[in-house]
Amino acid sequence: MMTVALGSRKLFDQNWKRILFWGGICALSQVFICLVGLPSELNRRILIESTLSLGYLFILWIPLVFGYIVSKMVELEGIENPKPGAADLLSGALTGLIGSLGLVLLMLGIENLDMRDPLINWNPKLFRLLTFENSIAFGSLVWIPVGVGLGTFGAFLHQISAQIRKMITYATFGLFSFAILEDVIDDLSEGFRLEWLNDLIYAKKGGMTVTSTIIIAVLLALLPLLVRGKLKTKVATYRSDVTPEGKRRNSIILFSTIAVLVIVLPWFLGGIVNELLANVGLFLLLALGLNIVVGLAGLLDLGYVAFFAVGGYTTAVFTSPNSPWFSPETHFGISLLVVVVMATLAGLLIGAPVIRMRGDYLAIVTLGFGEIIRLLFLSDWLKPYLGGSQGITNIPAIDLGPWEVRGADPRSVFYMVLAFCVIAIYISWRLQGSRLGRAWMAIREDESVAEVMGINTVNSKLMAFVVGAVLASFSGAVLAAKVGSVFPKSFEILVSIIILVVVIVGGMGSITGVMVGSLVLIGILGGPRQPGLLQEFQNYKLLIYGALLVFMMLKRPEGLVPTARRTRELHQEEYLQDAWLGDDETEETKEVGEKL
């Protein structure tokens, strides 16, 4: 493969402009990431013992990706591309080099200029990190070969066989997951009394040991060799052979396995991970509700946090002895009934005036209502009733006879949230196929025509608001009991936005998508105030959320786990284009083309 095949470019027959462009972007991205402070902040998180920290990783992936991009060839019909060869490796290397030069310039800049005023990360800490606590010359000596090497490697990825590329992908992502999931694996191995395994993989001070890294990388790389297509053919034959009853039976087995896992696993997990799972559940509950409003009925509600707040405050007023004005100190169960009533009222109250609006107008008005609700809770006017900025504290734990659900015991909270999530998932699932679900779909597609069909659009839309509101209020109620207090601060607009991102990234309208979305986003990155698995990301969460959103919109607008319908509508044109290419039709486009 390494031999320069006939018909490839000459070594110096380069598109210099392209290399300069991508190299420049590569340098800028690296400098940007450094100045944002990601490397310095995340340097504490060790991925591989005394070799690699998350901070360095944030710089290192850039030349690799840009090397890959710069040597990628656009495939056009009728134009034969030159075979990839050494010239492409050179483009990758040069891109990496320019990227590293950016870092060198940054080091020189930090030493000679004082720019700390606007750029707080223009500081010795970053300088030490970039020079490896040595001189600029030493730093350059490291960064330039590393950049060139990674750029070349990125370009090289185009020239190796798909099999090897798969092995590398498996190894890389596998290792990354192992390193990221250190806390979970740590917890799990403790739960299963397998501490020795943990000690084998991870070093004492955090991060994987070098030996375990190599062993795991090799094992992971061999994984695709072992299954090599077998799995695919098996799945394919299974798909074509299976009877409807068999399919049903299998999905029941799958479902019960997951159910058992979800119920049993928390006992083997420690407090931190259980806390994370509880947060994931709380946000999943919110996201499921918003999924009905946005995904099914197509009403872009940006003030969704209002219902979350109503749930929290209602629970606080009814259960807490510290409620300043009305304090019946009822049981959580009774307050939950009140929560349902209040959420329904709030859904109708906010829904009724905005229901005649469409699209952008609806989004803006709901955004305003969300803020109004928060400001009401904060206001001096309602202070004698709801405590103003001091909020309501001392909300008791949920008493469930033999069990008690309290914040100090995250496992109990997790089970409580799980119960609500199961209810919410069941409701969403049933609603999707129901008459109301069909009305929502019709409204989402074309409201006027839906009306012509005899659908009562006002009532259907209000129902969407109310169902969404009730689910959100459940989440708020559990949150209040978990944290033990409610403050207006907990119900900022950011909550609405993060839930919306979860729904969009997961896949609008898809229940599984929303589950995956909240697990990935809330579990790993964290919620608006809740730290995720990567606690170090706390300060950069919004940056990463934003970047992820942009990436998803560009590359996978249908979300991580989309519904079949969304995939169809978003990629149809691409498939049709591919089909037009005719001879080059790949297996995949053929299949899809037939399906269409």
Partner: protein, 240 residues
Amino acid sequence: MTETALLEFRSVNTHYGAVHILKDVDLAIYPGEMVCLLGGNASGKSTTLKTLLGMVTPTSGHVLLDGEVVNDKPTSYRVTNGVTMVPENRRLFKRLTVKENLELGAYLRDDREGIEEDLENIYELFPRVKERLSQKAGTLSGGEQQMVAIGRALMSRPRVLLMDEPSMGLAPALVQQNFELIQQIHEEGMAIFMVEQNANMALSIADRGWVLQTGRVVLDDTAEALLANPELRSSYLGES
């Protein structure tokens, strides 16, 4: 006529805010007949349809369905009682499948067997539609979309079909085909109320017609008489 009109306007007036749209409009559609409403832009044709369907409430006058005043009854009531519209430009739910589109036409019905039966009837009427059931409605050709739009309307088991500019946006060859289709449905006993700009074509198949001008009915006659009317010929049929 002694027969009760299926749908009737008795001196209906409508306003959008302060703007007076329909001015003392009288119309009557009898069971099984084909009538058409002609008029230029902004003459109040669409408002007439919306008022018939209950999406606009008249400020004065009466809308009658089977002789009963239905001014305050919602769209759903009228759809259940046999009034359906095929919207302008077909307006299918583009991202839903053809089957889902048809089923939404029967949204207000809950007789499962009846719905199945009607689906079969539609497949018989439009074999092309049956081949495309699981396809997204937006991917169909103009002619196929027209079939689905009519099929969707038929799914509510209407007695009168309100058609908003059925020939709009169709290729000339399809316009002819479309009118034949409408005639075919009409011959099976369906009353049809057509709003058209293509006056020649519409009058050639209709029994009676009205001409609407700035919200007022200026002509009300049989189709032949209207076709022969020199005033109409000059203003609508482009003859001098």
